[in-house]
Amino acid sequence: MKSRRGIAFRIAAPVLASVTVIFLFIFGYNYFDARRIVVREVEESARNLAAATVNRMDVVLGKVEKVPRNLAVFLEASPPEDERALLKILRAVVEGNGDIYGAAVAFEPGLFGPGPSGYAPYFYKSRDTIRYADLADESYRYVSQDWYQIPRELECPVWTEPYFDEGAGNIVMSTFSVPFYLTVKGKRTFAGIVTADISLRWLQEIVASIRIEDTGYGFLISKNGTFVTHPLPRLVMNETIFTIAEARNDRTLRRIGRDMIHGKSGFVPFQSLLTGKSCWMVFAPLASSGWSLGVLFPRDELMADVAALNRSVLVLGIIGALLLFAVIVFLSRSITRPLRMLAGATAEISGGNLDNPLPPVASRDEVGDLARSFESMRLSLKRYIADLTETTAAKERIESELKIAHDIQMGILHKVFPPYPDRPEIDIYAVLDPAKEVGGDLFDFFFLDDDHLCFHVGDVSGKGVPASLFMAITKTLIKTKATRGLDAHKVLERVNEDLSVDNTSFLFVTLFLGILDVRTGRLQYSNGGHNRPYVLRASGALETLAGTDGIALGAVEDLSYESKTVVLERGDVLFLYTDGVTEAMNPAKELYTEARLETELAARKGHPLKEIVLALLERIRDFAGGEPQADDITMLTIQYNGAPESPRS
C-alpha cells in the first residue's frame, strides 16, 4: 500500500531534491576547481623550492670547485720548483678553505716527485689538525681510482660519486677532480689531477631541512642514481633509484630516475618511499655536479585545507538544506492548515452534521475559494435537507390521511358475509380491492322493504381521492334516493340529477342498479353505462344481462333511463363487476378480457359465492403477474335460492 503523503511533503521533497542536486553540483565544481588551483600553486612553489635549494647547493659546490680549479691553473702557469713549495701551497689551501675536507695533487707517475710509482701529496683535516699523506702507495694505486681516471679520460673536471669515508670519520664525501696539463718538449701533456674533498654532511643537512607539511621530504641522488640523502638511512649510499624501481617493478619510478640523472626537471605524481602516500614530486638537477634533488609533497596533506574547506561547505550546505526544509514545511503547512481544518469540518458534514459552520478562512487564494464554496454547499445542503424533511413530513401526513381515508372508505362498504343470515332466499358475497389507498369503485345492497333487495355496483371515472369522494357521494345519494316502490331507472335518474348539477370536476360514475324481489326472483334493473352483469344459471348457462342503453351518471343532466326485467330461478347467480376485472393487465400489456372472465365463471357453476369470487381474484392476480394493479377491482355476487317453502314467521 502506498503511504499517505501530505502536500507539505510533496512540495518539500522535490524542492529539496533540486536544491541538493544544485548544491552538490556547485560543491563538486568548487572542490575540483580548488584542487586544480592548489595543484597549480603547489607545482609553482615546488619548482621554486627546488630551484632555490638547488641554487643554494650549487653556490657551495661552486665555491668548492673554485679551489682545485685555481690550483690547477696555478700549477699549469707556474709548475712548482720542488716538493716543499708544492706541499706548502697545498697545506695552505686545505687550511684556508673551511668547506674543504681535504685536497691532493696527484701527478702522472714519472712526471714529478721522488719515485717512479707516482707522487700524490694529500692534506686532510682530522679533528683540529691538518694531516699529510702520500697517496702513492702500492696498495692504493691512485692512478686507477675513479677520481683520477675519469677526469683524465674526459679531460674535464669531474665530481666523483659520493663515497663513504671510513678514515675520515664515517662521513659521506665527494671529490672534485680537475685535470691539469704541462708543456713538455713544446707539447701540452696531461700532468695530473688536483682534487678537493668535501663532506656532504652540510648537503644532507640542507636536504633534510626540507619539510613539506608533516611527511613531505627531499632527497638527493647522484649521477648514478645513488641516494646521497634520504630520510630512510638504509637507502643512503646503499641503493639507487633504479634498484628500488627494480625491486618494486615500478616503471614510472624508473622513468623518473632516468629523467633525474639526465639532468631534467619536472613535476610528477609519485608514491612516497617513506610513507607510501600519494604525493607530487618536483625534481631539479644540480648544475655543478649533475646530481638531482627531489622533493615530495604529500597530496592529502596539501589538500587538507581544501578538504577542510569542503567539509565546511558541506556542513553549511546541509544546515542550509535543513533550514530550507523547515521554511518549506512551515510555508506549506501554513498553506494547508486551512485545508486540514476544512478536511476535519467536511468529515463532520459527511457524517451528517450540517449545523457546525465551517472554520472561517481569511485567505483570498484558492483555499479560501474552496472554503467559501464548501460553506455555501453546507448551507445549500442544510436548506435542501430542511426542505426534504418538510416534504417528507407532508408526504407522511398525506399518506397517513390516505390510510385513514382508506379505512373510512372500506368502513362504508359491507364487510360481513353473509350479510343476511336470516334471509335464506339470497346469498351475497362481494369484494372491493382498490388499486390505490382509496378508489372510485362502489357496491352496496340493502332491503328496501321485507322483500325487495336493492343492490348496485359502480365505477367512478379515474382513481384516487377525487374518485373516492365522488364514490362516497354516489353511494350516499343512492341510499337516499332508492326508496320503496321506486323503479330502478327512476333511482338512476334522480341520482344523475344530483350528480350532474354543477359537476365542475366532470367526474361521472357508471352504475348498475338492480331491485330483486326475493319472493319471486324477479329482478328489475337499470344500467347507467356500466359493464353488463352475468347470470350464471343453475343449469350452467352463462347469460349476459341485456343492456338498457343508459349513460354514465353525472355526465349529462336531465337524462332518462330505462329499466329491464329478468327472472332469476332457484340457484341462479348474478355476477356484477367493474372494468378493473376485465381490464387487468399483464406485463405484456394484454387485458384480462370478458372472454377469460366468462370461461372462469362458467367453470364454477354451483360453487359457493365466496369461493367463486376469491378464485377469480386469484386468477386475475396470477394473470397480472408482477404488473401493478391499474384499476380498482370489484365483484359482487348474489345467489337466488328461491322463496322459502313455508312462510316466514
Binding site: G440, D459, S461, G528, D549, I551, A555, V556, D631
Partner: protein, 110 residues
Amino acid sequence: MEIRKQKTEKGVLVSVSGRLDAVTSPDFDKEMEGCIAGGETVLVVDLQGLEYISSAGLRSILAVTKKLKARNGKIVLASLQSMVKEVFEISGFSKILPIFSSKEEALSQL
C-alpha cells in the same frame, strides 16, 4: 400516448394514439385546454391509433365536450377501434357524443 394536432377549415383535427388512461389523461387535458384557450370551438378527435381508454380518459373527453359546449363549440369523434368503441358503448357515451367511422366522414358532416 401521442397527440398530433392539425388545423383544417372546419376545425382542429386531433389525432390521439396509444393509451388514454389516468397516467396520460392530464397531458390530453392540457393539450385540449390549449386548443380551447386558443379559440378553437370545433374539434375532430381521430382515435384511429388509440389502443386503450380508461374511465379517466372518458372523463377527459367528457370535460372537453362540456367546455366546448359552454362556448357553443362541438366535439366529434372518429375511427374508434373495437376496445375503445366498446367502452364508449358500455358507458353510454356513444349516445351523447357524435361518433363517425372515419375522420373524413366526421369532417364532411360538420
